[in-house]
Symmetry: C2
Subunit: 310 residues, 2 copies
C-alpha cells in the first residue's frame, strides 16, 4: 500500500461539444482549473470536508457532489475500512460552460488514485468521473471529464478509455463567457424532442471534416467542418446576443464558432493565439452590445491534462 | 480545345456508409467497376447510345440515367453546340450495394473531363456525379461517387471537393453479396421517421473512433468504433439471415461488420486480406443457411480511384 496519506491534483477547464461532437468531443484549456485534495479517512466512506473558491452552495452530500460521487465509484478500490476526505478548491465558475463539475470530479479521482497502492487504469478513472457528471447534470457524459483527464482534444467514449486526438499546435480557442449562469439542466432541456436523419448526416460530415482537419493540420478542412446544425440552433435562444457574437468571431477570421459546452460561453477556433485574442475582443464587444459584460480566455486547443501537484 | 474526340474511363465499385458514416463515408473496391465511353456529338445534348453488361433495362433517357444526368451537369462546360454520346459497360450488378449507379456516373464525368480543353476541378466533377445519384435514387448523396472518384476511404461532403482519409494498408474488406436485389429506394424508405439524440451521440462516437483508428492505424480503435446503431437496426429486416451473417464475420475476427451501402451486401473489415477471405467464407455459409446463394469479394479498403483508360 502507498505510504501517501494525502494528495492534491489539478484538473483543467474544458470545452465540450466543439460544434460537431455533442457529448463526444471536448478539449482542455490552459488556465483555469479546480484543485482537489484527497486524504484517507478511516470511515470507509466519502466526506466532502471543504469547498472553497465559489459563492454558490455546492452539495456537501457526497452522493450529490460531483467529486464525491466520482470518489464513491472508486471506493471499492480502497483498502477495506478506508474512505476519502475531500477538499475542493473551485477555480472554474459554475455554469460557465467550462466544465467546472468535470474538473472537480477529475481532480478528485486523480488525487485519490495517487493514494492507491496500485494505480487504476484510465478507463476506470474515467468511468468514475462520468458518475460524477451524472451527479451534476443527470447524464453520465464524458466530454468534459475525458479531456480534463487526458488533456488536448479527446473522443469521449461511453465505455473504455477516452481517446486523444492529435491537434495542430497552432490551433487556438478564443472563449468568451458572458456574465450570467446557464444551468446544464436547462441547456440540455432545450434539446428534447426528435431529430431528422438529414440533420445528423450534415453534423456527421462536420465531425469527419474536423477530425480530418486536426489529423492533417489543415485549417481549410476545419473551416469546412466546424459548424453545428444539430445543437446550436436549439440552444442559441438561451444566449442573448449569440448570433452577433458568433458573427464577430467569424468576421475576425475564426475557422468556426459556436456554443461552448452547454453555454453560455461562446467559442471560436483560430489559426493562431494572436488571431484568437483579436477574435475574443470582437466577441466581447458583441456581447456588450447585447448588454452583457463578459470575460475572455485564449488557449491552445491542445491544452493540459490533469496532474497530481507536488 | 482538346483534339480528343473520345475517351473511356473506369470507375470502381464502392461501399458506402461503412457502418458509422451514413451518407458521409464510403470507400472504393479493387475489382469490379463500370467502363463508360464518351464521345463528342454536335447536338448540344447528352445521348445514351449503348448500355452493355446488364440484363436490367436501364433508362436511355439522359435525364433519368445516372451517367446521363451527371453529364448533363457538365454540359455548360462543353463548347457551344457540342454534347456527349455515352456508351456504358456495366461491371457492377445493380442493387448489389456496391455503388453501381455511382460508378457509371463517375466513369462518365472522368471520361468527359478528358475531352475538355481545360479539365474541371474535383469539386465540379463531384457535384455532377451527385446529380447522377439523384437520378438513380432521388437523393444527391456522394458517399459512393466520392470514393469512386478519389479512391480509398472518403468523406463525402455536401459541397466542395470530397476529402480522402488515410487508411492503413493492412485494412481489408470482406464483402458478401446475397443473390437478390434490394432497391436503393426501398432501403432508404426503411429510414423514414424521426430519431433520438442519443442514437446520434453513439453513432458519432463510432465515427470518431473509426476515423481516429484509420489515422492512427490502430485496429483496437476500429474495433471499438465500427458498429452502426442508427441505420443497421432499421435496415437489417430487409436482409434475410443478416444477424447470422454479421455474427459469422465477427466470429471470424472482423473488426466490425454491417450492411454495405443500402444492402443487401454485408461487409466486415479485417486486419488482413487472409482474415477477410476467411471471414467471407463464413459469411457465405451463414447466407446459405438462410437459403441465399452469394458472391464474395476481398479488397483493400484503400481501393483504386477512377481513371481514364489508355
Amino acid at each position: 500500500m502507498s505510504a501517501r496519506t494525502e494528495a492534491t491534483a489539478f484538473a483543467p477547464g474544458t470545452v465540450a461539444n466543439c460544434a460537431v461532437g455533442f457529448d463526444v468531443l471536448g478539449h482542455s484549456l490552459a488556465g483555469p482549473g479546480d484543485r482537489v485534495t484527497v486524504r484517507w479517512n478511516e470511515l470507509g466512506t466519502v466526506r466532502i470536508v471543504a469547498i472553497h473558491g465559489t459563492e454558490t452552495a455546492l452539495p456537501l452530500d457526497a452522493e450529490r457532489n460531483t467529486a464525491g460521487r466520482a470518489l464513491l465509484a472508486l471506493l471499492p478500490h480502497a483498502p477495506k475500512g478506508r474512505g476519502f476526505d475531500v477538499s475542493i478548491d473551485k477555480g472554474i465558475a459554475l455554469g460557465s460552460g467550462m466544465g467546472g463539475s468535470a474538473a472537480s470530479a477529475v481532480a478528485a479521482v486523480v488525487a485519490a488514485n495517487a493514494l492507491l497502492a496500485t494505480p487504476l487504469d484510465t478507463a476506470t478513472l474515467y468511468a468514475a468521473t462520468m458518475q460524477g457528471e451524472a451527479a451534476a447534470s443527470g447524464a453520465a457524459h464524458g466530454d468534459n471529464t475525458g479531456p480534463a483527464l487526458l488533456g488536448g482534444l479527446v473522443i469521449a467514449t461511453r465505455a473504455g478509455a477516452p481517446v486523444r486526438v492529435a491537434v495542430p499546435d497552432w490551433l487556438h480557442i478564443g472563449l468568451v463567457r458572458p456574465h450570467f449562469a446557464l444551468e446544464t439542466r436547462t441547456s440540455r432541456a432545450a434539446l428534447a424532442g426528435s431529430y431528422e436523419l438529414h440533420e445528423f448526416v450534415t453534423q456527421s460530415e462536420g465531425l469527419a471534416l474536423v477530425l480530418a482537419g486536426c489529423f492533417h493540420g489543415d485549417p481549410q478542412l476545419l473551416r469546412r467542418g466546424l459548424r453545428d446544425v444539430l445543437v446550436e440552433p436549439r440552444r442559441a435562444p438561451l444566449i442573448p446576443g449569440f448570433a452577433g457574437v458568433k458573427q464577430a468571431a467569424l468576421d475576425s477570421g475564426a475557422l468556426g464558432a459556436s456554443i461552448a459546452g452547454g453555454g453560455p460561453s461562446v467559442f471560436g477556433w483560430f489559426e493562431s493565439a494572436a488571431a484568437a485574442a483579436q477574435g475574443t475582443r470582437a466577441m466581447q464587444q458583441a456581447f456588450a452590445q447585447a448588454g452583457l459584460p463578459s470575460s475572455a480566455l485564449v488557449s491552445p486547443v491542445n491544452g493540459p491534462a490533469a496532474a497530481v501537484l507536488p
